[in-house]
Symmetry: C2
Subunit: 340 residues, 2 copies
DNA sequence: TTGTAAGCGTTATCAG
DNA sequence: CTGATAACGCTTACAA
């Protein structure tokens, strides 16, 4: 197990200076084709591998911090795919951490990322993150983008889907196509911005419809289990005409609970995110598609643009959600009056 | 925007040498309580942040490479949660990359990880990885563990669930509890080791049962869509008594397609991995639970043990899968003869 | 208990 | 086009 092969070894072996060797590796300086060949050959025979860490001591590093609440939530998984693939394609690596949606974890992990000198940061902030987080990141002074969740009242760069529009699309469909007169929004963290914005969109849609529509607002965790519990609860009372769920997991749990209660089809269900499983569920899930992967790619590209100096500051993007209509929101074959 | 604050600044400000400052930060040397306080105070007022990169130039680094085929497959997501949380708890950070299950991508990303001097490597190898990969990693000489997939014929450290046992459990249930006489194994990459092992277990179960049971072996992608297509195909012919799917996504797609064909309940379905959505699907999915999260934690711990010198070599682990019986494999209320 | 000094492997500046 | 030489920020014998 010999010593590590360093640039100096390569240089010696090729009969050039360290500088020249460095030039051919980074492609920076002007080097004659002949010497380049020689150096490349030496690298190969010596089995030299570039030391990114050492290099980062001088130039800017090539690792990027990626902060997510839960890697295993399907939607975040999609986002991560977009982020990671975009970065690695450009030669950057992603230091991914998952906060479990807890503020103390988030603080700890951000500190670690900082110590690792990440060149930029993409963050889906833990629910409850406030201006303290923004201040922290500002003082840190590294290009940052908020992804999928933003901090209320902070004008930081943000890439996400238009939540207001998403809520609007769902509610408008329930009211217009299905003549719903009572709607429940189910799930999500109480004060989450996504939730608030979507409810905003829902209310807007209700206001536009000229009929009286009642709106009930229920919070819950964003899991299948929570959806099941909520469904069991709801099934005991009179069901609303339509239920908009904070995500597809909740929606699937809800649908299952209603099925168990013998009330499948008794209300219209719309999910959110349109994850892969949505089309396979029975009934197949109508859902607001947000294209997490695209979101991730967009965020990554925005960061790369400022890292490479193309842009002076990170640009915000709001993507347009689409409503994917399937079976869970009721019959589309003809009229569809509420079956109260 | 001032210069970076370095250890030297801290030392000066606290009126000690760089060494002493370093000692209090790393907790390495013996420092008087008084000076420690002074240094800590200086760190705080100066806003010093430790430079992990610079430190790694001397001592071993604290980043670990994590290679996955697809971050967004639910099961891998679970595994990643386990890996990541275990590492960050011990102060290590995970450099995660996703190969899209392609060998060339995998090679490229491994090279990048190597240049980043990762202290260890956890890898779910891309399908088709062979001894070349093993050789590459061996020459690299960094503690490595194969996770969830191993390389056929290589005795490298491996943490995964007992696939043979998993296949056995599924088949045994179909044969014993449901008296199935024809079984199909559906999905997975043609020459994947998991697939081969599970089929092995299936055959073992069939051999143990004293009755003639036929086995059909169908490959497919591991997605919901592929499951749907396979289901449409299968529904056209005579269905087997039971179908064991390579994962839950396939199983859900399959169940949906059979439902659409009006043949729900016409066969018994068993999934694999027991992801969160399995319990919510209609019918709820019987599945072989592999506890991906535990797998990830185990692999991470095995690596940490050798990094920290507690163990001389990475230890392999095989975890025991469990069969979670739900509705999709048929009625358990009484007798259950095949309904041919 | 604290300080001195020699690296770690690369990049950047500035002459040749 | 090529080569010295000085950083970069930290760890770690070894000496005091």
């Amino acid at each position: 197990m010999g010593r590590r092969v360093t640039l100096i070894d390569v240089a010696r072996h090729a009969g050039v200076s360290r500088t020249t060797a460095s030039y051919v590796i980074t492609g920076t300086g002007r080097v004659s084709a002949a010497t380049r060949e020689r150096v490349l050959a030496s690298i190969d025979t010596l089995g030299y591998v570039y030391n990114e860490g050492a290099a980062s001591l001088r130039r800017k590093g090539r690792t990027i911090g990626v902060v997510v609440p839960n890697i295993d939530r399907p939607f975040f998984g999609e986002v991560l795919i977009g982020v990671e693939s975009t970065f690695t394609e450009s030669g950057y690596m992603s230091l991914m951490v998952s906060t479990r949606d807890q503020l103390d974890q988030q603080a700890r992990l951000l500190r670690m990322l900082r110590e690792h000198q990440v060149a930029a940061l993409a963050i889906i902030p833990a629910t409850g993150s406030d201006h303290d987080l923004v201040d922290d990141l500002r003082s840190w002074d590294v290009p940052t983008v908020f992804l999928s969740r933003y901090i209320a009242g902070a004008a930081e760069p943000y890439v996400g889907s238009d939540e207001v529009r998403g809520g609007y699309l769902a509610a408008e469909h329930l009211v217009r196509a299905h003549r719903c007169r009572s709607i429940t929004y189910l799930g999500g963290p109480k004060r989450g911005v996504a939730r608030i914005d979507r409810l905003d969109g829902v209310r807007r849609a209700l206001a536009e419809s000229r009929s009286e529509v009642s709106l009930v607002d229920l919070t819950s965790e964003s899991t299948v289990e929570a959806g099941i519990r909520a469904g069991q609860e709801l099934a005991r009372r009179e069901l609303p005409d339509g239920i908009i769920c904070h995500n597809d997991s909740i929606a699937m749990g809800l649908a299952r609970a209603l099925f168990d209660a013998g009330r499948s089809g008794a209300t219209r269900i719309i999910g959110y995110d349109d994850v892969a499983a949505a089309q396979a569920s029975v009934p197949s899930l109508t859902s607001v598609a947000t294209n997490g992967r695209l979101l991730g790619e967009t965020a990554a590209r925005a960061l790369l643009a400022v890292i490479s100096g193309v842009e002076p500051a990170v640009r915000s993007h709001l993507t347009e959600p689409r409503l994917i209509v399937r079976e869970s929101c009721g019959d589309h074959s003809g009229e569809d009056a509420p079956t109260r």
